[in-house]
């Protein structure tokens, strides 16, 4: 695993709390705007930044993140921009990783992507549509660059599947709390605790739970059983609802602080 990513989970464990993982798409509403928003997320208390690489066909995402990705692509965001955003965030002492669908990584070149990301200070990559069966080359290049790999498990995953996914994972394990796409939900699924419990019996990897968290209370309830609480759509929505980038920074920092309290209770 990547040392800096590991240190984030180790420090949280010492403090007997969960890690707050915040997702935001690079290039939304602009490249510079996304850096400012993510910096505000870190100021509010986000521990690990999940920098989204905008993709034309984001199958795992609900309407909020889809709209943001479309906007980022219309504004001309590229993979080069994502690497630049990661680099800027590293300079700000943040700990960034990237969440990307597979095709843009493959097109950029696996080795080139992993190398540039590592040079920019990236600590990991989440690949929602890459299966371990197809990940041989990816495992080799990310191991060589000490980039943490995160694969996903879902409530429908069998124990054998969880084991296979865990073996391919070298960052945290991403547990999708529910069957479905990203988006704010009033209630975080009760399938998540069961899934995390099953995964704990199989792997020692830290486990992050995502899909649906938007409030302090939800963050607290997920933090009770998971090592990481992943929040995405709520941040994107806060920026979409803000009038300008300064208002967006303010809203995002406040939301981040609220969620940071949640993971500490």
């Amino acid at each position: 695993m990547n040392g800096r990513q590991q240190a984030v989970f180790a420090r949280a464990a010492e403090e007997r709390r969960a890690v707050l993982i915040g997702y935001f798409p690079a290039g939304f509403p602009s490249v510079e705007g996304s850096v400012r928003v993510m910096a505000a997320m870190v100021r509010g208390g986000v521990d690990l930044l999940e920098v989204g690489l905008p993709y034309s066909d984001p199958l795992m995402d609900g309407p909020v993140i889809q709209a943001a990705a479309e906007r980022a692509l219309r504004e001309g965001a590229t993979t080069d921009d994502v690497v630049r955003v990661v680099s800027r965030l590293t300079e700000l002492d943040a700990v960034p990783l990237v969440m990307s669908y597979w095709n843009p990584i493959e097109r950029f070149g696996l080795e080139r992507f992993a190398t540039q990301l590592a040079d920019a200070g990236g600590v990991g990559v989440i690949t929602p549509d890459l299966t371990p069966e197809e990940a041989g080359d990816w495992i080799a290049v990310t191991d060589a660059c000490e980039i943490g790999r995160t694969f996903l498990v879902a409530p429908s995953s069998t124990d054998a599947r969880i084991e296979r996914v865990s073996r391919a994972t070298s960052g945290f394990l991403y547990a999708a709390s529910t069957m479905g796409v990203t988006g704010v939900r009033t209630q975080v699924s009760d399938a998540a605790p069961t899934l995390v419990e099953r995964a704990r019996a199989i792997t020692d990897l830290p486990i992050g739970v995502g899909l649906g968290v938007s409030t302090e209370q939800q963050a607290a309830s997920v933090a009770a059983y998971a090592d990481g609480v992943i929040v995405g759509s709520a941040f994107v929505r806060a920026v979409q609802e803000a009038g300008d980038i300064t208002a967006a920074e303010y809203a995002v920092e406040a939301l981040s602080a609220e969620l940071a309290r949640g993971v500490r209770t």
Binding site: D57, T79, F108, G180
Partner: protein
């Protein structure tokens, strides 16, 4: 993965069960109207360099295209898995209509996702689906065409997988979908092979089909893969011309990539973002192509060529006037290809064209194209 594993197991169990196959065969005969005829196109073939041209008449199937073959198979599979609901994507609307039909027949709930752009150019099929009791959801994301309808159907499926089957309409998507869809369309190729041998006493020199996702082509190609003397040619949408950028020519202008869970040829930019495709025919307007076609292309067993909107519409008009058959605009791409190939192969050649669908749904588009002054939307 759990859903795909479940589907894979159910599919293998079903095709090994004689009762399942017998039920499907009965439906194909009594409901679809199979076998579909193989019609010699005596007047059209004059334009094909004098080659003998046969049309495999999938347009005469119930619902008007080959799509019903796959739909009946997967709908039976749905009930066998104990699921109550089917969802589907549709481009031209033929797969959506076929799915809505099978859902009505078997008493399943049905939701069809269709790009908003396509709901406009295929309004007739939207009405047909709704008459059949299906819910049609216009998709307003991305390019608002078939690719985005597939995205939305996949999102629905992962959310409702416990009671829902995603009845994918073409030979793409993650395994086992390409294999399942090919299997249920392979009846086209099996019948064609028997019919042409009964009529001509030999195999054809070429078998041609249009290729969007590629289901009708895979269905007819599948019976001839081991016959090296039979040329297999797929015709993809050249749109306004491959050099204009406005086309759906994945083989002519795409590059290998991953789209919708399949590694195949994709229209993409330098960053791996999917590039919007264009074709006058909604059913060919897709930036990816079935992965088995990519394999046939790379192995050299099949070849693929673009046909422009204009060439397709010219062939469309020609088949109407020479044979009294109004083909789907998708299919017209294969007919234009047959003309091109016939002139190359010459007089003694035998060409089979998969006439994958009828063109009633395209009357408005065609009337506008030919300036017939009968456009009911104007």
């Amino acid at each position: 993965m759990a859903a795909l594993d479940e589907l894979d197991a159910a599919f293998r169990d079903a095709i090994g069960d004689p009762t399942f196959t017998a039920t499907l065969t009965d439906l194909e005969r009594d409901y679809t109207g199979r076998p579909s005829p193989l019609t010699r196109a005596r007047r059209f073939e004059v334009e094909c360099g004098g080659a003998r041209v046969y049309l495999k008449r999938e347009d005469l199937n119930h619902t008007g295209s080959h799509k019903i073959n796959n739909v009946l198979g997967q709908a039976l599979l749905t009930t066998r898995m104990g699921k109550r609901r089917v969802i589907a994507e549709t481009g031209a609307g033929q797969h959506g209509v076929a799915t809505a039909t099978a859902a009505a027949l078997l008493g399943l709930d049905c939701t069809v996702y269709m790009g908003e752009e396509d709901t406009r150019r295929q309004a007739l099929n939207v009405a047909r689906m709704r008459l059949l009791g299906a819910e049609v959801v216009p998709v307003v994301n991305g390019s608002r065409t078939l690719k985005d309808a597939i995205n939305e159907a996949m999102r629905d499926w992962v959310t409702h997988v416990a009671d829902t089957h995603y009845l994918l309409g073409t030979v793409t998507g993650p395994a086992p979908f390409p294999e399942i869809v090919r299997h249920f369309h392979s009846v086209i190729g099996r019948e064609t092979r028997e019919q042409i041998i009964a009529t001509e006493g030999r195999l054809p020199d070429a078998v041609v089909a249009c290729v969007g996702g590629g289901s009708n082509a895979m269905g007819i190609f599948s019976a001839f893969l081991d016959d090296p003397s039979v040329r297999l040619v797929g015709f993809e949408a050249g749109g306004e011309g491959v050099d204009t950028g406005r086309h759906a020519a994945r083989f002519a202008a795409g590059t290998p990539g991953v789209l919708h869970g399949a590694r195949t040829y994709v229209m993409q930019d330098a960053w791996g973002q999917t590039v919007p495709s264009h074709s006058i025919s909604a059913g060919l307007d897709y930036p990816g192509v079935g992965p088995e076609h990519a394999w046939l292309h790379d192995s050299g067993r099949a070849t693929y060529e673009p046909v422009t909107d204009a060439e397709a519409m010219d062939a469309f008009e020609s088949l109407c006037r020479t044979e009294g058959i109004l083909p789907a605009i998708e299919t017209a791409h294969a007919l234009a290809g047959a003309r091109r190939l016939g002139r190359e192969l010459g007089r003694d050649a035998i060409i089979v064209v998969n006439l994958s669908g009828r063109g009633d749904k395209d009357v408005v588009t065609a009337a506008r194209w030919f300036g017939l002054g009968v456009d009911p939307t104007e």
